[in-house]
Structure formats: structure tokens, C-alpha cells
């Protein structure tokens, strides 16, 4: 399986993701500069955390116009797995690949801590190695993770099982319905505020994030069992 990690100017979790894929899966993974216009040779595309373009104006708003985003859209439509983590999630919503918006944390401060996260749906491409309803420990680190959408969108997200992760402890940012991560309708595009790549071995504080990556590999293998 081949992974691309998109590097925007100001991305800062790009190498963390590359290392996580190497360490957890040992699969091929390449950082891809934001000028790239063809991602067709990759099986999965990861948009890392950080402060693309300084997160000026609104988080993710400037990155969305990077040339690579056209290619990301194309591959998402083709059904490839796309994951946006933290700033990556913000970019995906700004780009319209996921519904809603991520606003400033309600307490207005940046928040970094390991959070209990509940897995709301364990039969997705990203969560098949988790138990349904399981609570896992995954770090968050953001100032703008306060998920918002209109009522109608929320109902649709709930009804079609697009909410994969919710905060299971005290809501750390004011997110609507404790939402920590959602997919698109087709289920191949995931955006999440928690950082699974920061929780892959015990010394990091929790190994629980690793299973997100192993799930993706298992899903891909299932669908490419030739």
C-alpha cells in the first residue's frame, strides 16, 4: 500500500505521519509537496496537522487553494482513502470535501492533552480494528477544533453513521455533539481533530492511534485481494 503525506508550507506534523506509517505498517510512504498535481499512484492520502500558511485568515482556508488539492479531490472521488488530521481536517472542510466548519475552541485557548475518544462506528475503513463503542486515548492539540454544522447536516451525519469519533470526556473545545471525527457520505474521506500518529507506542502515552493505520491497511488489503 502506498501512502502520500501532503506537505503544505506550514505543515508540521508531516514527518510525524510519515514515521507513524513506517513504524506501524512498514508500508511505502512519501511526503508530497503541495505543488504536486497527480496523486494517482497512491492508495491513501494523508493531510497532516500543522499551521498551513500560518493558519492565517481561517485555519485551512489558504491551503485549500494549493495546487495539490485538485488532485486530492480527484482521488477522493475515485474512492481512495483520504485522512485529514487536525489542520488536515480543517482543510478538508474548507475545501468542501467534508461538511461543517471548525471554529475557535469555546474557551479560546490552544489545548494539548491526551483525550478519551469513543469509537462510534467500528465498521469503517478507518476503524475496523477498534471495538464498537470502545474508548481510546488519543492526543489533541489545537486552538480551532470546535466542530460546527447546521442542524440538518448534523442529522444527516448522525443518520448515515458519518460520525466516527466523539470526545468521551469533558468536551475539550465546544464541538457540536462532541464530534471529534467524521467521514464523508461514501465513508472514504475522514477528518479528525485527534492525532493518531502521536499515540502509536506506550512511551508516547498511549498506543491506541496505531489501530487507525492498521485498519486502513486491512481495508485496503480486503479490497485489493488479488
Amino acid at each position: 500500500m502506498r501512502f502520500a503525506v501532503v506537505v503544505f508550507p506550514g505543515s508540521n506534523c508531516d514527518m510525524d505521519l510519515v514515521h507513524a506509517i513506517e513504524d506501524v505498517l512498514g508500508e511505502e510512504v512519501n511526503p508530497v509537496w503541495h505543488h504536486e498535481s497527480d496523486l494517482s499512484s497512491y492508495d491513501a492520502i494523508l493531510l497532516p496537522g500543522g499551521f498551513s500558511y500560518g493558519d492565517y485568515l481561517r485555519c485551512g482556508s489558504l491551503a485549500r487553494f494549493s495546487p495539490v488539492m485538485e488532485a486530492v479531490k480527484k482521488e477522493a472521488e475515485a474512492g481512495k482513502l483520504v485522512v485529514g488530521i487536525c489542520n488536515g481536517f480543517q482543510i478538508l472542510t474548507e475545501a468542501g470535501l467534508l461538511p461543517g466548519a471548525l471554529m475557535r475552541n469555546d474557551h479560546l485557548q490552544f489545548r494539548c492533552e491526551i483525550e478519551p475518544i469513543s469509537v462510534e462506528k467500528a465498521d469503517s475503513a478507518f476503524t475496523m480494528h477498534y471495538e464498537q463503542g470502545e474508548t481510546v486515548q488519543i492526543p489533541i492539540a489545537h486552538a480551532e477544533g470546535n466542530y460546527f454544522c447546521d442542524d440538518e447536516t448534523l442529522q444527516r451525519l448522525e443518520a448515515s453513521g458519518q460520525i466516527l469519533f466523539r470526545y468521551a470526556g469533558k468536551n475539550p473545545n465546544g464541538a457540536l455533539a462532541n464530534i471529534a471525527g467524521i467521514t464523508n457520505e461514501k465513508g472514504n474521506v475522514l477528518g479528525m481533530m485527534p492525532h493518531p500518529e502521536r499515540a502509536i507506542v506506550d512511551w508516547m502515552g498511549s498506543p491506541d492511534g496505531a489501530r487507525l493505520f492498521t485498519s486502513m491497511l486491512a481495508y485496503w488489503k480486503e479490497n485489493h485481494a488479488s
Binding site: M15, C112, R198
Partner: protein, 748 residues
């Protein structure tokens, strides 16, 4: 603005406004053999400011030990460099941004972080961690809350955005810092030996290249500002504050490291204090060359900037490079990739002249060595302060009789100085780069080195109350405590960087504090074999004529050989045996107990015996490497009682302590005697541990065990502390948030 003429500068003594004395002005005249013009006076004044020249501290700084078998580069360059094996080295430095933070806390603190990061990557190193050390007045003041909140979010903003984890630090509140907060930032980087860069201009005819943000009128004369006392008119020095752009710095960082990797650079130096002036003059002086700069080629953000303004601007996120002639295009290509602006602005010349041209005219022409090597040096008068003499006869215990230990522990856990600093560090991204193995909240932070079994432990420390009461012992303790923190994490201390925050050196009492503190620090560094590889001096920290407490801050870095040696302060398991290392006397001068119950400090600080300290640290490191230790925590502020409480809280476990003493139980439990460490050890390892301690002649006393119940302390068979850990945790965690939410924060 019309610039004054050379004659006006002389006749109206305008150089004084820039911080030059009459004698210094005469020296400038002598160096030039004529009257200096406005630009030249500006250049001399910043180059000869305390911030750039260390003119008041240089003779004292020579006392520090700066060499050792592992030291690759000591003080002098951007940051110190220490070998860690495998052709790798650690690069680190601390720097102050006190005065800018006092007038614009968010940007002042943010640009302080930005500056120290540039110091590290201009050495060719990849920055891997940030720390800080902060001092404020007390949180009851809304101005202090405003400063505290904004300094913390400024630090968070810069570090989080650029993607370097802020893994540790310290915060201390005391009225001594009311008008003059301290903001010290430290950066730690890792480098391959072969990538080490230098800030030199060499090779006649080689181009000088400017990279990064364009130059504006911000921060003009920042270095001079940093070298003056704060007063009412400081507010008018406003343009001395800059706005930082961490996004730009991230691009600059990646671009520079790409140039380093491709071995393109002959010289690189960041434009920090005194901007283009300091970087270019120092590079030329170090290279033993002259330099010509054409200021018309300097990227400018504003129109109509004069040569004076361009040279003295402290606009952020800028770098100066010298490369071999002919390689300009390669540099430009990397800059273009990262969307950075770059320009060839001059060249290295034969000889010793530092020449600036603007609009086709020669606007400054200075022998470059006179800016750097011939800066004035002052040895000031020292005088023992009367408070020090008076304190000789004060016995702190007189005022501390009959204190209930239960009440004391709750009170002290809630003192903002001892309370949890989670309010602060939860705003820092301490996990980015996925290398943080010990997060904020233990004695030292630990960052692993990818691809090896090694890790770095790091800590910033400095108890200024001790230094005030007794600068020699206080200086020793600052170094010893930071080393102890690092040892408790399983690391061998390697070396320190220090930031000396003091009042005006022109006051003999302050100069005495500085001199004595350096004596104490030097001695401890010598004994622990942790040389000083770099640092920063911030003098004139006074408001309304009142100096701050003398505040040397020590940034210590240690090397952990194997990941399995990483140790934290948290208790690990019910039933583990608690062992107190070191002897306990009753030493309460400058203690938390004294502050909490008398609201003052008096007497003498605890004594530190450097030989005992060395033995203790060696013994503990040995025991950790032998795999005998479950948790280790240094006993410092708040004494044994606080050390046990903190280990309970971080491990979410209880403890049952039983000790005997001839002293008053509360005094015993809260005494701050130095050279003590609290260990927890599993039962089957106790014997071996005690043997190891005997080898090093370190007193070891079994004082109790880890439990799942309350924190219970029995002194002479009498139960003096009995509190649930949940309750203590709550007091400890809520203290600062409570103070912050109870009331508003405003700018004034």
C-alpha cells in the same frame, strides 16, 4: 525625519539618547578619526549595548567553566554544542525577552521564542524542543494576569505554529517582578557534527545574501531598549516591539536546513538583536574581513527608510548568509521553493572596513573590529548589601512555630508557585514531532532521538529567593537543582546554558549579587562537570529604581543512554518502598513555608555542599541504570512534604510515611535542605539499592511505602498529615485556573 548632523550630535549630546556615554562617544571619535554621523552613532550604540557587547558582565562571565571533553563549541556562537556520540551533538541556548514582553506580552514573548529558535537553526541544527522560564508579579493584580495570560499564549502561538514542542519550563510569581516580568526562552536542537555552521564572512568577493522577511521600521533600537531600565517613558519606546510571524520562520527554518544539508553555506547568522548591524558586523569581525553592503538592495517593507532605520530595525524572521561566489542561484532556488524572498546585498572585502552604501553614497565607514572587539568593558564596584548583613542573625524558624502540617500542605499546594502549571503547559503543543517521552509535569522533560536508543532530558530552574538571600549558595542551587532534575529522569547532565536576569550593574549591591551568583554557579558547574556552553545576560531589570530579585536561570540538558532508563517522579505501584536520600536539617530561609506563613523571606538560604550533591547525583544515576528505581523526584521547594505529595498526585497513588526527628514535625517536613532525592523502589530491590547508596556514601533512609490510600505522614508515631490524594490533586490543579477565572485581565 531630518537626521541631525555630526556636529549636532556632538553639540547636543544626542548620542546619549541612544545609550552611549560621553566617554564612549569620545572612543568612537577616536576609532573613526572624525565625528561619527547619525547612522554610525546608531551602529556603535547597539553594538556597544549590554545586550550585544556584554560590557558590564564580560569580566564576570570569564569565571564560568566552558570547556570539557564533550564540548564541541562553547559560548560565542549562536548556541553551544555538546557531543552526544554517534557523530551527533546537542545544540542549545536560552535568551531573555523581558522588556518587550513587559510592554507587549504576546508579541514580546512570541518573538523571544522566534529569536532563540533562529539561534539554534543558524548553527545548522534541527530544533527539537523549547522550554521557558517565566517570572511575574502576583496574580491578584489584573495587569499581572494580563501579562501572564498573554506571555503564555504568545509562547504557545509561536512554538505551536512552527511545530517545535514546548516541553518544559517554570513559572514563578512574586511581587519582586511586578513591573518587570521575566520571559526567558530556551531552544534545544540536534545536529550531525558535519553540519555545524559558523557565523563568519570569509572569502574576498563572496556575496552576502539576505533571506526572509522584509525590513520595516519595527523594533528599531531593541537591543538598547533591552539594556535600559523600564520606566514611564518605556511606553514611548513602543516601536521597539516587533510582531512575529512563525509561519515565515517555519519556511526560513526548512530552507536553511536544506542549504545546510546541501553544504552550501560558508557563513550564516540570524538577524536578532540589533538586526542587520549585529549580524553583518559580527560575521565580518569573526571572519577577519571587511564588508560592503548596499542598503538599496535590502528588501524593505516600508518606503523611505533611512540607512539608520534599515541598520537598526529588528524586524523578525531574517537570516544573513555568506556563500561562495557563483552559488547564488542555488540559494535563490531553495528560497523560491519555500516562497522566501532573498537578495544579494553586499560582499566580503579585503581589509577591515565595514562600509554601507545607500543611494550611491557611502553612509557609514567603520573599522569593523572596533564594533566587536573594541567594545568598552566595565568592571563595576561591588558592595555587600545591608539586607544581606542583617539577615545573618535572622532565624527563620522563630516565625514558624506550631504550624499544623495538614493545613500547611494544603496551603502550599495552592500557592501559585507550587500549584500545577497545567494551565500553562496545556496551551503548548508538547507532543508535536512525536518524540516527547516525558511530558510537562515531571522533574525534567525527555525527548527521544529517533533512530537511536538515546534521549535528552532537559529542565530550566532558578530559585531567585535563595539567590537574593545568598547569591553564592543560590547560584550553586540553581545549577544543582537543574542537574538533579535531569538525573532524576535518568540522564547524565551534559552542560548548561544560563540567563542572568539582574538589576542595574551600576548599583554596587546588584553587581555584587551578579558576581557572587556567578561564583556559586561556576563552582557547581565545575564539580558536576557541566560547563556553561552559552547564555544571555539581561541587566537593568528594574522598575521605579527597584531591582528584581537576582534571577539566574539555568537551562540544563542531560543525555539518557537507553530509553529504558527514562524515569519520572510519579509513584508507580502500591507497595513500593519509599527511600529518602540525603540528610535533612532545618533550613527554611527563602522557603515556601516561610513565604506562605510570613509573606516575606528572611535569613539565609539552604547551604549546598557541592561534594555531597555530586555523590548523590552519581549514586542515583547509577541506581537508575541498574534498573533499581521506580520513580525519582528531587526534594526542592516545599521540602519532603511537597515532594511526596507531588509524586502521589502524578502517580494517582497514596503513601504512608513514618519518620523520626528531634525537630518540630512541620519544620522537618517542609525544610528545604538541598541534596535530597525521594525514590520509590520495588520491595525486592531495596537491599541492592541501599548497597549502591553505600558505595557512594549517600545516606539512604526507608521512610515508608506507596499505598492506594491517603497521603499519610507519621512523625515520631504521630499522624501529622492525612489527606486524600484526590483532594490534594484538586487543590493543586485548581489553584491557578481559579485565580485566572475569578477576575478579568486587562491591558492596564
Amino acid at each position: 525625519m531630518i537626521e541631525p548632523t555630526a556636529e549636532q550630535i556632538r553639540d547636543q549630546e544626542l548620542y546619549k539618547e541612544m545609550g552611549l556615554t560621553s566617554e564612549e562617544y569620545e572612543q568612537v571619535k577616536g576609532h573613526l578619526g572624525r565625528l561619527p554621523n547619525w547612522t554610525e552613532v546608531g551602529i556603535y550604540s547597539v553594538m556597544w549595548s549590554e545586550h550585544c557587547s556584554y560590557k558590564n558582565s564580560k569580566p564576570l562571565l570569564r569565571k564560568f567553566p566552558t570547556t570539557g571533553p564533550r564540548i564541541l563549541l562553547g559560548p560565542g556562537e549562536g548556541a553551544g554544542v555538546i557531543d552526544i556520540g554517534d557523530e551527533q551533538a546537542v545544540v542549545f541556548k536560552i535568551e531573555s525577552h523581558n522588556h518587550p514582553s513587559a510592554v507587549e506580552p504576546f508579541q514580546g514573548a512570541a518573538t523571544g521564542v522566534g529569536g532563540i529558535i533562529r539561534d539554534v537553526f543558524s548553527m545548522g541544527a534541527r530544533p527539537v524542543a523549547l522550554l521557558n522560564s517565566l517570572r511575574f508579579g502576583e496574580l491578584d493584580s489584573s495587569r499581572v494576569r494580563y501579562l501572564f495570560d498573554n506571555v503564555v499564549s504568545g509562547i504557545a502561538h509561536y512554538g505551536n505554529c512552527i511545530g517545535i514542542p514546548t516541553v518544559g519550563g517554570e513559572v514563578f510569581f512574586d511581587n519582586a517582578y511586578d513591573g518587570n516580568p521575566l520571559v526567558n526562552a530556551m531552544c534545544v536542537g540536534i545536529i550531525n557534527h558535519k553540519d555545524l555552521q559558523k557565523g563568519v564572512a570569509v572569502g574576498v568577493g563572496n556575496p552576502v545574501i539576505y533571506v526572509g522577511a522584509s525590513t520595516g521600521r519595527d523594533g528599531i533600537h531593541g537591543a538598547t531598549f533591552a539594556s535600559e531600565e523600564l520606566n514611564e517613558s518605556s511606553e514611548e519606546k513602543r516601536p521597539a516591539v516587533q510582531v512575529g510571524d512563525p509561519f515565515m520562520e517555519k519556511l526560513l527554518l526548512e530552507a536553511c536546513l536544506e542549504m545546510v544539508e546541501q553544504n552550501m553555506l560558508l557563513g550564516i547568522q540570524d538577524m536578532g538583536a540589533a538586526g542587520l548591524t549585529c549580524s553583518s558586523a559580527e560575521m565580518a569581525a569573526k571572519g577577519g574581513q571587511g564588508l560592503d553592503l548596499n542598503l538599496d538592495l535590502v528588501p524593505q517593507r516600508e518606503t523611505g527608510m533611512t540607512s539608520y532605520e534599515i541598520m537598526l530595525s529588528e524586524s523578525q524572521e531574517r537570516m544573513l548568509l555568506v556563500v561562495e561566489k557563483g552559488r547564488e542561484a542555488e540559494i535563490m532556488a531553495i528560497c523560491d521553493k519555500w516562497g522566501l524572498q532573498s537578495a544579494v546585498i553586499g560582499q566580503v572585502t579585503d581589509g577591515n572596513q565595514y562600509r554601507l552604501f545607500q543611494h550611491g553614497e557611502l553612509v557609514a565607514d567603520i573599522p569593523v573590529n572596533t564594533l566587536v572587539d573594541d567594545a568598552p568593558v566595565y568592571v563595576r564596584e561591588e558592595k555587600v548589601p545591608t539586607y544581606y548583613v542583617e539577615n545573618e542573625s535572622v532565624d527563620p524558624t522563630d516565625a514558624l512555630a506550631n504550624i499544623d502540617a495538614n493545613e500547611a500542605i494544603e496551603k502550599i499546594l495552592q500557592s501559585p508557585n507550587m500549584a500545577s502549571k497545567k494551565y500553562v503547559f496545556q496551551q503548548y503543543d508538547y507532543m508535536v514531532r512525536t518524540s516527547t517521552a516525558v511530558r510537562p509535569g515531571s522533574d525534567a522533560a525527555v525527548v527521544v532521538i529517533r533512530g537511536t536508543e538515546k534521549a535528552l532530558a532537559m529542565s530550566t530552574d532558578g530559585n531567585s529567593r535563595y539567590v537574593y538571600l545568598d547569591p553564592v549558595n543560590g547560584g550553586r542551587i540553581a545549577v544543582a537543582e537543574s542537574a538533579r532534575n535531569v538525573v532524576c529522569s535518568g540522564a547524565e547532565p551534559l552542560g548548561i546554558t544560563d540567563c542572568l536576569n539582574f538589576g542595574s550593574p551600576e548599583k554596587p549591591e546588584v553587581y555584587w549579587q551578579l558576581s557572587k551568583a556567578i561564583d556559586g554557579m561556576s563552582e557547581m558547574c565545575e564539580v558536576l562537570q557541566t560547563p556553561v556552553v552559552g547564555g544571555n545576560v539581561s541587566l537593568y531589570n528594574e522598575t521605579k529604581g527597584q531591582p528584581i530579585y537576582p534571577t539566574p536561570v539555568v537551562g540544563m540538558v542531560g543525555l539518557i543512554e537507553k530509553r529504558e532508563h527514562i524515569t519520572t517522579q510519579a509513584f508507580k505501584q502500591n507497595g513500593d518502598v519509599l527511600i529518602l536520600l540525603g540528610d535533612t536539617a532545618i533550613e527554611l530561609g527563602g522557603s515556601e513555608l516561610q513565604q506562605a506563613y510570613t509573606a516575606t523571606i528572611a535569613g539565609r538560604a539552604p547551604i549546598l555542599d557541592s561534594g555531597k550533591e555530586k555523590a548523590l547525583q552519581q549514586a542515583v544515576l547509577t541506581a537508575i541504570r541498574q534498573g533499581l528505581v521506580q520513580s525519582a523526584h528531587d526534594v526542592s521547594e516545599g521540602g519532603l512534604a511537597l515532594a511526596v505529595a507531588e509524586s502521589c498526585i502524578s502517580g494517582n497513588l497514596g503513601a504512608k510515611i513514618q519518620v523520626e526527628t528531634d525537630y518540630d514535625p512541620t519544620l522537618y517536613l517542609f525544610s528545604e535542605t538541598q541534596s535530597r532525592i525521594l525514590l520509590s523502589v520495588s520491595k525486592d530491590k531495596v537491599e541492592e539499592l541501599v548497597q549502591t547508596m553505600e558505595q557512594f556514601h549517600v545516606p539512604a533512609q526507608v521512610i515508608g511505602q506507596v499505598t492506594e490510600g491517603n497521603l499519610e505522614v507519621h512523625v515520631n508515631d504521630q499522624l501529622v498529615i492525612d489527606r486524600s490524594v484526590a483532594q490534594l490533586t484538586n487543590h493543586w490543579e485548581e489553584a491557578i485556573p481559579c485565580k485566572m477565572t475569578a477576575s478579568s485581565t486587562s491591558t492596564n
